[in-house]
């Protein structure tokens, strides 16, 4: 087990390093440069030169890369071109907002998704099952920007029940969290339903029932434990996706001050340091979550660690 974990950790470290390198070069070899984007129209060539020097973009790419690695290893990712503050601070000031929203959306997704998925599998073709299938289909096919706008127009403008944007009260979470959790609910519902249907038909479940094990234990301890492997993968994937990827659109629409919106704005402003911190952070989170999933797999299913 220790060898397995060590191997996984080494792969994770290498992945982070590879992403860091790719991101560094991809941005710098792109068609736009931050000096041109940030310079005011009345800037002189001297201003351009000074700004290039200030951002450290006047040095050869190789030297920039070495300096970047050297500073990054000490936790210094440079100052944001746009805000003039350390990029790490800028990203982490915004991270709690994304984390809170992501956690709320995650909790909603898991509770609703699993509840509907398991119930649908146990009672196929019931009203809950039919409702769950329709909801899952809608959740997977409706784009979040459209759902967001509809929610704003209905619950915000027409009904005046919920605040439209920003954060401050608990009510501010409702619309963005719902919008964010719609797709994961659908995903978890569908997957948990199909996994549970397979598991419920298996021999060990029949055997458990013959032995007189109570139905509650049959479903949760026998069937769901075995059906949970693909579901866990999805849940952790959903978690990282909610925290980092899917939030961009939702944060933009609901004016949520999280890192998703920050990174989008930083990308358009060619604020390399902020985007780099974000990408490294995302990679770190995703790689760590995958590492945790791999270890949990190995714990749940001993065959995996022996392979």
């Amino acid at each position: 087990m220790q060898g397995y974990i060590l191997k996984r950790v080494l792969i994770a470290v290498f992945t982070i390093f590879a992403v860091l390198t790719v991101v560094f070069f991809v941005f710098r070899l792109g068609p736009a440069d931050p000096v041109s984007v940030m310079l005011p129209p009345n800037a002189t060539p001297q201003d351009a030169e000074n700004l290039t020097k200030k951002f450290g973009l006047d040095q050869p790419l190789g030297i920039q890369y070495v300096n970047y690695l050297k500073n990054a290893s000490q936790g210094d990712f440079g100052a944001s071109f746009r805000f003039g503050e350390p990029a790490l601070r800028v990203v982490f000031e915004r991270f709690p907002a994304t984390l809170k929203l992501g956690m709320v959306a995650f909790t909603v997704s898991v509770i609703i998704g699993l509840a509907i998925g398991i119930y649908s599998a146990v009672k196929p073709d019931s009203i809950v099952d039919r409702f769950g299938r329709v909801t899952a289909l809608a959740g997977m096919s409706l784009p979040s920007f459209w759902v967001g706008v509809m929610l704003i127009l209905f619950f915000g403008v027409t009904m005046r029940w919920l605040p439209i944007a920003g954060r401050g009260t608990l009510l501010h979470y409702v619309m963005p969290a719902f919008c964010l959790s719609l797709y994961p609910i659908a995903l978890i519902t569908r997957l948990s339903r199909s996994s549970m249907l397979d598991a419920l038909k298996s021999d060990y479940v029949v055997m458990a029932r013959i032995k007189g094990v109570p139905e509650f234990y049959v479903i949760l301890l026998h069937a769901f434990k075995n059906a949970s492997i693909p579901v866990i993968t999805v849940i952790f994937g959903v978690l990282s996706g909610l925290m980092l990827g899917s939030t961009v659109v939702v944060e933009y629409i609901f004016s949520w001050p999280g890192i998703g919106r920050l990174v989008m704005e930083s990308y358009f402003a060619r604020d390399y340091p902020v985007v780099q911190v974000f990408v490294i952070f995302v990679t770190f989170v995703v790689v760590t979550l995958n590492l945790i999933v791999d270890i949990i797999y190995a714990y749940i299913d001993p065959r995996i660690r022996y392979q």
């Binding site: 068609p31 003039g84 509770i111 009260t169 009510l171 509650f216």
Partner: protein, 522 residues
Amino acid sequence: MLRPVLRLCFIGTVIFMIFFIVPVSTVSAASDDTVRVGIPYDISTVNMLEIKLGSDIPVVLLMHQSLLIPHPETGERIGALAKSFEILENGKKIKVTLYQGAKFHTGDPVTAHDVKFTYDECANPSNGNLMAGALDEIEEIEVKDDHTLIFHFWEAYAPWEELMWLGICSKKYYEKVGPEKFRSNPVGSGALRFVERRIGEHVLLEVVKGYPLYDVEGYPEETYNYKYLKVITVPDDMTRLAMLETGELDLVGRIQPHQVKRLKRNKHVTIKKSDQVPSLVGIAFLPYTDPVMMDRNLCLAARYGINRQEIVDKILLGEGYPLYMYASRAELGYDPNVAYEYDLEKAREFLKKSSYKKGTPLTFTYTSMVPNAPLIAALIQQYLQRVGFTIKLQQLEEGTAATYTRNRDKRLGHMRLYEWPGSRDPDLRLRLSSLSTSDYATVTNRPRREEYDKLILAQTREMDKAKRADLIRQIQDIMSYDAIGAILYGQNMIYGMSDRVDYTWTPKEAYFPHLQRIKILK
């Protein structure tokens, strides 16, 4: 046994939802003493010395008072911190006498040393201030005493008033706290003091008690009837306007014409407009991509072939005006008599006379920076194809387009749709985009290049207003003759407010001016 678990999940879900939905009464409960203004972007800084974007100016200037300010009703420049100005040596020197009662929010008096410090720091290239280039006109600032200073220009500088808007910062405070603290907690002498800034969320300012401190003649300053001003970042247009409708925002600017209809249906929203704002949208011909773009006949074919009135009617829904020259209604040098009325036959004749080979595709580039750019680009493609051009549309991301423009990269295409953010004096625009030696000039080999460049520099140095206006007219004449592209239209400023406040835009200003003058009605 399954039922209790499912029931538990269900109850948990319901409790969770109730937990969020119950306090409905808090929705849109606006604090009576706070005015909330919605803007689409994040303020890049609250530090006057490091201002990078024009859009930061309205917020920063609330905290900092300037030597000159625009009169809120006429837009004319009037003294604020500066009690008087004296033009010496035919414009090579400007003597400024400061108002003596002015104070910073720390209680320290505003002195000539603070003015010099602010201008020096803004001109310092390492601060990346957007005014650094423009301030190159100033050779030196000489402090005569605490309330008198002299601006020495390299040469007479006619648009000197356009350099006098910088918000004056406290030198003493800056030296006491250092640049880091000053950046996060600036101190000025404006109507509002800084309270808090949350990147991506808002900037909160508080009205300074006892303000106005300045005895400015002709400036009808009033007592503010609110306590806080919150400038809130809401990037999405639809969301921003929805917040205006529900009363979560009190004031929103730059509303697009197609959004007005919906807002007008809401009796709690008031819409106001101004056509006296700097606004100019045009097409630049890019000769470095293809020499054919230097052909005057080709340029005239495009100018006569575009129906500007139709663009104004169909896309701006009448909220603008056709523009044929390189100055908008709010700018010095605007002449309503200059026009290239739409004439398809004339356009076709010019195209026949040009060196353009029929069927050769010309790339027309646009970015999302120009409102409704895809629609406008499609319409222009249609017009030009009717004339006989073959037009290929290309949409670029703004950062890429900015880099291509600066590098004169051929990938920018043959023509580019652009918007000039605006000013009240065309000097800077002319020198940057038209002077053949400028980095931004697209046309560097005009037939009358030498004469043209001389005129541009001469108008910069001409202190006599009538003579300067004549020089600008001559420049516009040459621009009309040369193949530089086509100016399309100017757009009105549409702004909306909730019925609890009232505000009126200051003429000739491009960004929210005098936000401190918002009045709470209810």
